[in-house]
Every structure is written in structure tokens, then in C-alpha cells.
């Protein structure tokens, strides 16, 4: 009936909407991507179900029966109307290399990526940062400050994540809209100041093998 509320009552875009832009919110499992998107979005986060077929893991090839594995991934996203005609979409993007085809599809046309990092498990973010660097997409890193997480000096984090000195490194609370906006402002400011085409090739550097002697950071002044 006409009066019955739709089971999928849509929140439509304004009729003057012209330009849709997107930013990826990337990071490992549980780092706060959905929380970040929810804090910023004008609607509850939506999601699409994506089916991925991939080559089997080694276990399967040992058994020799299956050669494909199908995985379903939920991709969540949200949107925020910035002006009458300009709308920003945020796409939560899983950081695993096995989702790379999905990653490539979602990242097409993105302005850039915000990588969320949890200092309790920094290593979990290496894979997603590598993926983004391989794609050539500009990015900023936001440390999502979980209450019990260790606090590192920015230069120590930079060194450990091997960030380019120009890559913004900020802290944020993904639950707080203002803090999330600030992280995006850092990203977009970076996009304006350091356009990707102007960026020179990364200089090969020695792998930091030693454990994390504090106070011996080598990444310049480390930004802030």
C-alpha cells in the first residue's frame, strides 16, 4: 500500500547534486573503518555484498580437489553532502592483498585514501599501505587512538611505517565526527600540496631491522 513504509526507505541525494567524490577509508580488520564512516555519514552506513573468487590456498591444492575459493565480503560505505552540489562518499576498504581485485574496483576514481592504524598491531597495516603505494594513490595515515593502545612518538611511527616525510600522520578518534573530519582535512590538504604527479620516486632506504630504539628516528623532524 502507498502508506506502508518501504523496507528500504532510501535517503536520496539532493536534486542539485552534480559531483560525487570518494575517499577510501582503509585498514586491517577491526581498526575502526566502519566507526569512522558512521561518525561522518549523514545516513547509517550502507553496504554491498561482493563475491570474490580467488585461487585456492595451499591447503586446497594439497588436497587437489578445489581450485577456486569464493568469499563474500561486505563493503561498507557512507556519504556526506558537503555543498548543494558536491557529495563525499567514504568507502571502507579491507586491507588484505587477497581482496586486491575488489580493491582496484573500489579505488578507481578515488581522490585518495585515509589509512587507519592501530598502534597495538602496527604490522597489520603494512599490507594495506603497500597496496596503496603500489597503486600510486596518495594517502594519509590516521592513528585511531584506542584507549589501551601504546602511544608512540610520531617520528617512531613514521620510521616504523616507513612513511614518506610528506605523508600526513595524524591521530584521530574514529568515534568522533570532528576528529574524523580533521583527518580528512589533513588528507585533502596533502592532495593539494603534494599532487601525486609531482612526487619524485621514493629513495630506497635501508630496512630498519633493529627493534625500536627510541630517540633514534631518522625521518627528519617527522611532521606532526
Amino acid at each position: 500500500m502507498d502508506s506502508a513504509p518501504s523496507d528500504n526507505a532510501a535517503t536520496y541525494l539532493g536534486s542539485n547534486t552534480q559531483t560525487l567524490v570518494k575517499v577510501l577509508v582503509a585498514g586491517p580488520f577491526g581498526v575502526g573503518k566502519t566507526t569512522f564512516i558512521r561518525a561522518l555519514s549523514e545516513t547509517a552506513p550502507l553496504h554491498t555484498e561482493e563475491t570474490m573468487t580467488q585461487a585456492s590456498a595451499s591447503v586446497d591444492s594439497l588436497i587437489g580437489v578445489r581450485d577456486k575459493v569464493t568469499t563474500t565480503v561486505a563493503m561498507d560505505f557512507g556519504r556526506r553532502t558537503l555543498t548543494d552540489d558536491l557529495v563525499l562518499y567514504l568507502f571502507g576498504t579491507p586491507g588484505q592483498r587477497r581482496f586486491k581485485p575488489l580493491w582496484e574496483d573500489v579505488s578507481r576514481g578515488a581522490l585518495g585514501a585515509l589509512v587507519l592504524v592501530d598502534t597495538r598491531r602496527l604490522g597489520d597495516s603494512f599490507e594495506v599501505i603497500d597496496l596503496i603505494e603500489e597503486s600510486g594513490m596518495p594517502y594519509a595515515v590516521a592513528v585511531n587512538t584506542f584507549d589501551d593502545a601504546p602511544r608512540h612518538e610520531p617520528e617512531v611511527l613514521r620510521d616504523h611505517l616507513d612513511l614518506d616525510p610528506r605523508t600526513p600522520l595524524v591521530t584521530c578518534d574514529a568515534r568522533d565526527a570532528g576528529s574524523a573530519v580533521d583527518a580528512l582535512i589533513a588528507l585533502v590538504t596533502h592532495l593539494l600540496t603534494d599532487p601525486p604527479d609531482a612526487a619524485p620516486e621514493a629513495v630506497p632506504d635501508a630496512a630498519p631491522e633493529a627493534g625500536l630504539p627510541s630517540g633514534t628516528a631518522t625521518a627528519g623532524d617527522g611532521g606532526r
Binding site: 528500504n8 532510501a10 536520496y12 541525494l13 539532493g14 536534486s15 547534486t17 559531483t19 560525487l20 567524490v21 570518494k22 550502507l46 554491498t48 555484498e49 561482493e50 563475491t51 560505505f77 556526506r80 558537503l82 555543498t83 558536491l86 563525499l88 562518499y89 568507502f91 582496484e104 574496483d105 573500489v106 579505488s107 578507481r108 576514481g109 578515488a110 602496527l122 604490522g123 603494512f126 599490507e127 603497500d130 603500489e134 597503486s135 600510486g136 594513490m137 620510521d159 616504523h160 611505517l161 616507513d162 570532528g178 573530519v181 580533521d182 580528512l184 582535512i185 585533502v188 590538504t189 592532495l191 593539494l192 599532487p195 601525486p196 632506504d205 630496512a207 630498519p208 631491522e209 627493534g211
Partner: protein, 118 residues
């Protein structure tokens, strides 16, 4: 704990050529802006086509949002959009072209929009 580069493995970049060589139905991006063309719906639409047409009749949406509301995979909705554009039921407007993705004027607009909602 060792640094990131020690785990690093390089594969070729895809972004340099990524957007252009896509097959035609892939030209409908998640951010393709869908709006109703306005006329009456043709009588003979498949159920999924009709659901999409009726959804967009309510107002403009991105393709990704249409997929989420219809609980359909993005790949399926891309095909439905292509069908409905061919039938003259939907308008589909491409998102920002790749060349304008890094346009400082666009980025300035995004930045001032973000500052305004801060």
C-alpha cells in the same frame, strides 16, 4: 618488531592505465549518479529492472547506494543500469573524470566543504 619494508613485495602499478581500458559495462562506476529520465516506465521490465527504476524514481542515488538498497551485487546493478539507460528509463552521469580527480579546484571545494562541517 621489524619495519614495513622488510615485508615489502612489489607488483606493477595498475592505476596508470586502470580507468581507460575497462570494458563498456564497467564504465558504470559505484559513484555513477543515477536519476530517473522521467517518462512512464515501459510495461515489460524484468522484476529487478523494475525495482531499480522505481527506486530511482524517488530521487537521485549513486549506483552503490542503489545496490545497497536493492541488496544486489554492484556487478548486477551495473548491468541493470546499462539496460535501463538503453531503454531510456534512467540517466547515468559519470563521476569525476580521472583527469579531474586531482584538479586543485575540485580539491579546494572538497576542503572548504569539510571545513564547513567541522
Amino acid at each position: 618488531m621489524s619495519g614495513r619494508r622488510s615485508e615489502r613485495r612489489l607488483v606493477p602499478a595498475y592505476m596508470a592505465t586502470g580507468g581507460r581500458a575497462a570494458p563498456s559495462r564497467n564504465t558504470f562506476d559505484r559513484l555513477t549518479l543515477l536519476s530517473a529520465a522521467g517518462g512512464p516506465l515501459p510495461g515489460r521490465l524484468a522484476p529487478a529492472q523494475r525495482r531499480l527504476a522505481e527506486l530511482v524514481n524517488g530521487g537521485p542515488l549513486s549506483l552503490a547506494e542503489a545496490a545497497a538498497y536493492l541488496v544486489l551485487p554492484v556487478s548486477v546493478v551495473r548491468v541493470l543500469v546499462a539496460d535501463l539507460v538503453d531503454l531510456g528509463v534512467l540517466h547515468a552521469r559519470a563521476p569525476v573524470p580521472r583527469a579531474e580527480q586531482h584538479d586543485p579546484r575540485l580539491l579546494e571545494r572538497v576542503l572548504s566543504g569539510l571545513r564547513a562541517i567541522r
